[in-house]
């Protein structure tokens, strides 16, 4: 049972990062702008999903698979930081502030939204 669970974590983890690659790539190439919209979309949608999963009070194993494995690998903190640093390097101060501010504030709201919707399901 444990072995199957970990195989599930590996597979869902992999799928999550592939999904991020696709979503980020699609959004970024569509906007074609300096501001990292792709990562923002990924992180915000991930925050909603994780809130939803937690709010639904799933079983231990399902929560591990859906939360830690799938959403955990889908969202990305390091890319957010890296792309923020890049904005700073190019003196795009407004973009830098917006990327940090919007991600934080809207991210927390997105998670809260997910939790409350999940609780009602």
């Amino acid at each position: 049972m444990i072995a199957i669970l970990w195989v599930g974590v590996v597979l869902l983890g992999g799928a999550g990062s592939v999904l991020r690659f696709l979503v980020d790539g699609a959004v970024s190439s569509r906007t074609g702008r300096s501001f990292p919209y792709g990562t923002l979309v990924v992180n915000l949608s991930g925050a909603v999903l994780l809130g939803l999963v937690t709010g639904m009070a799933l079983s231990h194993d399902t929560a591990l698979l859906a939360g830690t494995a799938a959403v955990g690998s889908y969202t990305t903190f390091s890319t957010w930081m890296f792309e923020t640093q890049r904005l700073g390097e190019e003196r795009q101060t407004r973009g830098l502030a917006a990327n940090v501010g919007v991600s934080l504030v809207v991210g927390v709201l997105a998670a809260a939204l997910g939790v409350s919707v999940g609780g009602h399901l």
Binding site: S28, S29, T39, F82, E83, E90
Partner: protein
């Protein structure tokens, strides 16, 4: 030695493959086998091609498969032979041929006679080559700056050949001979006067000269790229190339000029654009400089290359003109041969004599 040569340039993706090898490796292998006088592989920072897929090092996901540019210069016979072998490589990207004058070996370099127009000077040096205990690229930039050349950009190669020998950058190793390219733009007579000094400075000089038109300098419009017909008198298609020399610190609308340029060109449906980031350089009166260890924002020069059909270049130039309203040098060149599909029977050069003063 002064020779009339051809410059073969290829624009493609870092991850493009041919069979089991990367296109970049296959190409440079070929240049090494053929003992090409000088060739360099450069990694781009941003760009898009015919499919209009944006690649940029600013975003993690889109930095997969960044553009790369390979440049090879040698005599006409050698380049034509390489071109034949190149056809066996799939996904080779956009290939162009341009005319260039190659100067090598002789220390007493003299000014070729027709150098009266604006000229692009390219000096090839090794990554760790030194001149009087100073890195060669910095020494060359200092000299060009003192002699009033309009600007220079140092581009770091990751692979290449120098005097026919393959020199590839490795993760561990000194990489002393991996080639660097120093591109400078200036008036023909000033470049001509600096040539003998360069010959004295460098142990084995490897230099190319190309005729160009300077369209803009420091935001000032000097002349538009010349309106060329789509084909020469024999029906051979002609192309034009714009090179936009800016800096990471030169902003337009809150972002570096080259970033805005690539976005606007992509939206306008241009054929493609490639941004190369330099490691050192200068423009105008500013002393040559690079990045420092701890700094706010980058300072290095960047070059944006735009190649298109003559009618489209006119549209693209409007965008370039708008974004380089305050900074940057813009040059235009004639590209006599280009292919991005399977060339049938090789690439032939269009013959078109560009009248002096325009290009």
């Amino acid at each position: 030695m002064i020779e009339d040569c051809l410059k073969l340039t290829t624009y493609f993706g870092e991850r493009h493959r041919t069979g089991r090898a990367f296109v970049a490796d296959a190409q440079l292998e070929l240049f090494g086998q053929r003992e090409i006088a000088t060739s360099v592989l450069l990694r781009g920072a941003e760009g898009f091609g015919l499919k209009h897929h944006l690649r940029t090092d600013r975003l993690l996901t889109l930095s997969e498969d960044l553009p790369v540019v390979s440049v090879a210069v040698d005599t006409r016979t050698k380049i034509e032979a390489v071109l034949e072998d190149l056809q066996a490589i799939e996904h080779r990207g956009l290939v162009t041929l341009e005319r260039a004058t190659l100067l090598r070996g002789d220390v007493r370099l003299r000014l070729p006679d027709e150098l009266h127009e604006a000229t692009k000077l390219t000096v090839y040096v090794g990554r760790q080559e030194q001149v009087y205990r100073v890195p060669a690229f910095a020494a060359v930039c200092d000299l060009l700056h003192r002699r009033g050349i309009a600007g220079a950009t140092v581009l770091l190669g990751v692979d290449g050949t120098a005097h026919g020998q393959r020199t590839r950058a490795r993760f561990f190793g000194r990489n002393a001979d991996v080639p660097m390219m120093i591109i400078a733009v200036g008036s023909g007579d000033r470049i001509g006067r600096v040539l003998p000094e360069l010959g004295g400075l460098l142990r084995r000089p490897l230099i190319t000269l190309e005729r160009i038109g300077v369209c803009k300098r420091n935001g000032e419009l000097l002349e538009r790229p010349r309106a060329l017909p789509a084909t020469d008198e024999h029906g051979m298609a002609m192309w034009q190339k714009l090179m936009v020399y800016t800096s990471e610190r030169a902003l337009h609308d809150g972002q570096p000029i080259h970033r805005g340029l690539v976005r606007r060109l992509r939206e306008s449906g241009a054929r493609g654009a490639t941004v190369l980031r330099g490691i050192w350089g200068f423009q105008g009166d500013r002393v040559p400089h690079g990045d420092r260890l701890l700094q706010w924002g980058r300072h290095v020069p960047v070059v944006t290359i735009i190649i298109d059909a003559p009618d489209r270049i006119a549209t693209s130039f409007e965008i370039v003109d708008e974004l380089t309203a305050e900074h940057g040098v813009v040059t235009s060149e004639l590209v006599p041969a280009l292919t991005d599909e399977e060339p049938r029977g090789g690439l032939r050069l269009a013959r078109y004599r560009v009248q002096p003063r325009y290009m």
